[in-house]
Symmetry: C2
Subunit: 402 residues, 2 copies
């Protein structure tokens, strides 16, 4: 059993402090630096962009985590991605970490760095250096929302969430914040996510975290591209004095379910915020041969422009869904396949079926609905979350000039 | 040396006859049935959609060609794809072949079938059966254009081309016609291409044909989806009395170059005709580790909505190109990469370079231009051809209602 913590976020679990300030990196004057700190060095899991073009902070964090699986803090800036900035960019990331470590009296290599914003520009280090002491000064366990706001770029909405799970030994908490939407400005599309928990996690929990990322942040698609800076960090500081390994099997299951829910809800909030998006659609693929297959097909359909335009047009276009499924490279047999919009079945064994057109159109007129493709060739299922492709997507992306 | 044949097409090579008629399949009343016939049984190579959902005519043709590599004719209809039509659909394709074979006094299994149009509807066989004798009656070597027009669906322009190659033993010819644009109506996006030549081709020329398809019809991307009906057929009837195997090596090279050019030009004409397209852009990837890598990256960039929106907005957005390249899964090193719009260099070794902004904007304002990404890690190169993503793409695809 878990419950949502009202106005919760990264500081909801015990022992986490945060802050967010306006350092002057963004021309808009909005908040653009943030700091997250654990009172105790925390077990750290991180997953980074698979893009071959990696920004300096991603390269720096990977180097740090190669030798340790702990971190005490994360320093974040928005407004400048520190990407395509060469060796100077790497030195700047390193300096951001070093100044934070010095200011917080931490050991070397205990602070990670995340950046998001325009690419190809060197970091305005004078502003960054002036910002770090202010962030440290403002650290507080009440600043979940300040943190969540300061990491945003072109996002329309702040994305913060926390949950509490009851266990026999006491309550434990998971908090999170993220940012990301489609690339409104060139390469401001970075997805950053920060998850905190006061449970103590064993090193082999990484596999669980990795699987959760596939079903959450990797299952969403606004436009199918990855950025130079995508990062998801989980910090587990054990300050509830409850270790995952000491929980009962059912409590472990509840903790995992809560973590999955939190990561999926944060991920869905990114899709809702997709450029020009008017709808959030879950593409569910059921009874595939493997979970990997189901996820691959769901993501492929979720990235199809033809399917996404039809969603925008509120057209229950089964042909585009089926054709896109067939293009995905995943095994399927057309004659075995069923398709549903919401609860309304439109295809049975690959052939159109007579259905209630009124009910069907009512489904696709909703702001959020589910499309379910049942392959009937296996027992694995997965979902992807996508938004529609609207005039505004093109407008936003075409009208920006470098 | 090859030269373009004015108003040429599938009938330009010796011994090919064609026709096109209005059979009443399309509600618009436009031409919707076509026939292509060789006076002599021709060596036949064919490549079909990789979509797991294959239309009846594709399944039928694959069955026919499993046992023979010759064909004497192809019967084509537009307006109905005969897809998602089950066993009745297959029987209808078979009947179209059979009636054509009977009408032309051909042996069984010597006629191929292609269909394109709406999916999920049974073929109107009464109209098709009435159309076949009319097509046979009208067969003529002057009908390249009639054929090219009758295979169209939502295409704005007819796509027909022929070339003549001089050899020591005489001239040989290659002709072609194709159809296809993005999916305006649901699943009318099928790409059909017909190539004819009067050269005699050996069976192992298939590998050459397959490679040409990768660099032409598989190198174009309007929206990245494959359809249920995509088909490309090459018929070589040898009626020039010149065998490919008897040509000199340089003549063989010229023949291959002419075939590549013809297939690429036909493919590019499909992109020019892409839904709402205002620009045709060649994405060139040079000095990659392999041709496969270069083509994969070029296609990936050509399918990026972010890159395509920037092209529509006439924005020389190097960040989107570089980030998309990095997302493609192909090996690259950001610090080795150079990028050009037309002849204007914007990135050198992964870093932005000062360039003439006037010249740069002049490039992206053109209707057709080239973006060149030089990876500097190998010696292989390839191109993909794409169009921009415009308001009209969304409009066309969203406003259609099933």
């Amino acid at each position: 059993m878990y419950s949502i913590i009202k106005d919760g976020g990264v500081c909801s679990p015990r022992g986490f402090l945060a802050s967010g300030i306006k350092a002057g990196i963004k021309a808009s004057g909005n908040a653009d630096m943030a700091l997250l700190k654990s009172e105790r060095a925390a077990r750290c899991f991180a997953v980074f962009t698979t893009n071959k073009v990696k920004a300096a902070p991603v390269l720096y964090d990977k180097d740090v985590l190669e030798h340790a699986h702990f971190a005490s803090a994360v320093i974040v800036n928005s407004g400048n991605a520190n990407a395509c900035t060469g060796s100077q960019g790497y030195a700047d990331s390193e300096k951001m970490a070093l100044l934070t470590e010095e200011g917080l009296n931490l050991t070397p290599k205990s602070v990670l760095v995340c950046s998001t914003g325009v690419i190809g520009h060197l970091m305005p280090m004078d502003k960054v250096e002036a910002g770090i002491p202010k962030l440290i000064e403002k650290l507080s366990s009440d600043n979940s929302i300040d943190f969540a706001k300061a990491i945003l770029t072109t996002d329309l909405a702040m994305k913060s969430l926390a949950v509490e799970i009851k266990t026999e030994k006491g309550n434990v908490r998971i908090g999170g914040a993220c940012k990301g939407s489609g690339m409104i400005h060139p390469n401001m599309a970075t997805m950053l996510a920060f998850i905190t928990t006061d449970v103590g996690l064993p090193i082999d929990f990484f596999a669980e975290f990795r699987a959760n990322i596939d079903d959450s942040f990797n299952a969403i698609t606004v436009d199918g591209d990855t950025s130079t800076n995508d990062t998801c960090i989980l910090l587990a500081n054990g300050m509830s004095d409850i270790q995952y390994a000491d929980m009962s099997l059912s409590e472990q299951g509840e903790f995992r379910a809560a973590l999955t829910m939190l990561m999926q809800e944060l991920a869905k909030s990114i899709v809702r915020d997709g450029e020009g998006a008017t709808k959030l659609i879950e593409i569910r693929v059921e009874n595939a041969e493997s979970h990997k297959d189901a996820l691959k097909m769901a993501r492929f359909i979720g990235t199809s422009n033809l399917a996404k335009c039809a969603m925008f047009g509120e057209d229950p276009n089964w042909g585009r869904i089926l054709s896109s499924a067939g293009s995905s490279g995943v095994n399927m047999v057309a004659d075995h396949t069923d398709l549903y919009f919401g609860d309304v079945q439109v295809l049975s064994s690959g052939r159109p079926v007579a259905c209630n057109k009124e009910a069907l159109h009512a489904v696709v007129r909703q702001r959020e609905y589910k499309v379910t493709l049942v392959l009937n060739i296996g027992h694995a299922s997965a979902s992807a979350f996508t938004c529609d492709l609207s005039y505004d997507y093109v407008k936003i992306n075409a009208e920006y000039t470098t």
